[in-house]
Point group: none
Chain length 213, copies 4
Amino acid sequence: MTPSARPLRADALRNRALIVDAARRLFAERGLDVTLHDVADAAGVGVGTVYRRFPDKDALLGGLVAAKYEALVELAEKASTEATGRDGLRRYLMSTMELRAGDRSLSTAVLRAAPQTEEATELRARLAAAMTALVARAQAEGAVRRGFSPDDVPAVTSMIGSIADRTREESPGAWRRYAELLLDAVCPPDGDLPPLSGEPLAPPTPGVCRSRP
Amino acid sequence: MTPSARPLRADALRNRALIVDAARRLFAERGLDVTLHDVADAAGVGVGTVYRRFPDKDALLGGLVAAKYEALVELAEKASTEATGRDGLRRYLMSTMELRAGDRSLSTAVLRAAPQTEEATELRARLAAAMTALVARAQAEGAVRRGFSPDDVPAVTSMIGSIADRTREESPGAWRRYAELLLDAVCPPDGDLPPLSGEPLAPPTPGVCRSRP
Amino acid sequence: MTPSARPLRADALRNRALIVDAARRLFAERGLDVTLHDVADAAGVGVGTVYRRFPDKDALLGGLVAAKYEALVELAEKASTEATGRDGLRRYLMSTMELRAGDRSLSTAVLRAAPQTEEATELRARLAAAMTALVARAQAEGAVRRGFSPDDVPAVTSMIGSIADRTREESPGAWRRYAELLLDAVCPPDGDLPPLSGEPLAPPTPGVCRSRP
Amino acid sequence: MTPSARPLRADALRNRALIVDAARRLFAERGLDVTLHDVADAAGVGVGTVYRRFPDKDALLGGLVAAKYEALVELAEKASTEATGRDGLRRYLMSTMELRAGDRSLSTAVLRAAPQTEEATELRARLAAAMTALVARAQAEGAVRRGFSPDDVPAVTSMIGSIADRTREESPGAWRRYAELLLDAVCPPDGDLPPLSGEPLAPPTPGVCRSRP
DNA sequence: CATGAATGAGCGTTCATTCAT
DNA sequence: AATGAATGAACGCTCATTCAT
């Protein structure tokens, strides 16, 4: 059950990497409804090649999941080095929201999905532990909204994700304003709340179309 | 042969209303992925009739906005009767989020969409005015997060919508916990913040399916 | 559960007939592995039209089944009018084999398949009854190989079918020789057995290809 | 650079043998729809190697014929040692049908295919001679259905094959009943015909799946 | 020579949209 | 005007065959 078999040939490895890169990029940009044809085209290979490496779409997605968990765990672990629980939690939440803002598939594939592999399950457990510690430490400082649970993190991140997904094209950083709002709601900064940074989303102007979700 | 739209025949008007009603219901319940066949069936007309009235799906969505704007305006106007600016804004935000939680298409059709008709443009203006007043009054009381703009309301509502859409099936009221969090972030209650109500979303358990968005 | 709804429009009826005709022809000629694209092309319609009338391939096939059962029942009932049990059974077997020789899908869709609709189940029962009667009557005359059962008819027919399918192109009537052989085995003629009619299948000559099943 | 095929290298020969062995086994068990990937895997070589030796699937099938002819010739020669022509022919037919019942690809590869190599052509000639002798001897005893030709043997065997292929899973010996029927039709036993042995194939029961051929 | 990675047409099926009736 | 039949590109996926390594 180890990766096993013999290592892939050089060109196969290269193509696998191309596929994974293309998939990561497309899923991040456009969410889960990209087709494997799209992925194959973006990778510069035929569909068959994608299916040779990944039995189906979920498997391809699943192949990206471990790396995403790792990134989240790393964010959590880096955040724990902050001097205060407050700063640690704030840093973690902000960096996680940032990761999600850049990756449309993070919620569906990772935050809201059950881990499908042993590796993912283990990473998720590590992540959960780290988040619990971050929240507990900040809680001990009285820095967190009472009742807030580590299990609320995915919801908060997803909310920011939904804004980010909708505004990526027209104003890529717009999500930060709402991230700040949420962050301050969960774990307010030490002193007074500053005014919200950035600008609100401009309401759409009459007559211009919008279309697809 | 008159230059612009001549009034519709009586039966055409009736059909338009049937279509709009059915669309409102289906889009609210099942989101944007209902087919226009579904809408036509629910309205008791043929697909062709739907397409005769609305060039495409987006236009049909657009056809719903007037009613939705009206509902929002009504909420805003009711909210203005509250004794304080704080209560008025809180009530408005909460009721808007509630409306959105019950209507999967509210964001796309109204919050994020430009008004396409004169009627919609006008209603949107009334709504904007009401929201501005609500925010200004609360702002004057120092009850609002500094920098918060009436233009932020759609974003806040959308965030709750994204949570509500994802949890409608398994735990229909789950969005309230996050609505409370956001509401308190925008316009905190008078005294101390209470602990968050409700429970966080349970994380998915390993081994369960992933599948389609 | 009756055919119900309102009758189809004239053009839809015509297309439905075109589809059914094309399907009947193609399935008969080429067996079950024709694609619905092939059927659609042969019918001169788009694939979508086929799927509008028949939810899937099995349904299309199923739509042909009733007519096939009817044909078989009719053969059985005509055969029962023969003066003797021997002649009746011989006539029935021969005509059934003939039907099968002309229709590549008869075995899979009817003879070896379970009936899927009420109508088909009923027709199958009628057919079974008629076959039982035919065999019993011939049996009473001592005209049938001992131990032969009505349930053996599909097997016998299928065997002839397999020969017919393989020889349809090069020598369309070749199956008759083997039909005779089988028929005489099941229910020998009254007098002496005549020599086999026709010619054996010429063995393939060296060097010529054959290919697909 | 010699005009025609130069002898293969030792390892190439070994691979060819591995491929042919694997192909024989898989085609016999699972029929013609095994993929060449399956064959390659079972042989422990790459697909490319299979295609290097055999231009396509048909050619690979062709590569199996020699061994199959040898088996048939052996059956024919053993059968000739029987005391009577009747017994010889009956034994030959029965053993050939048995061979076919155990080998899904025998018909396509041998019975219906033209020999493609010199070796195959020669073996086929030997087989034809042996069959002719068997039939002639039995014919001389009056033991054979008049008109029956050695060229009819493949057809008879194929018919049994078609039954065997369809029933292998559910009732592996079911073909014997029909083999007996055919055998008695071609070359009846010495005394009275016994009742058919075994049971007829049970008709499929309503409501069970249909699906793929 | 051997390998297995790569290909892409084709499978059964869906659905937003068009157009003959 | 209203209908719903018709369309066909696109979906996720398979596999016989080719060709770079």
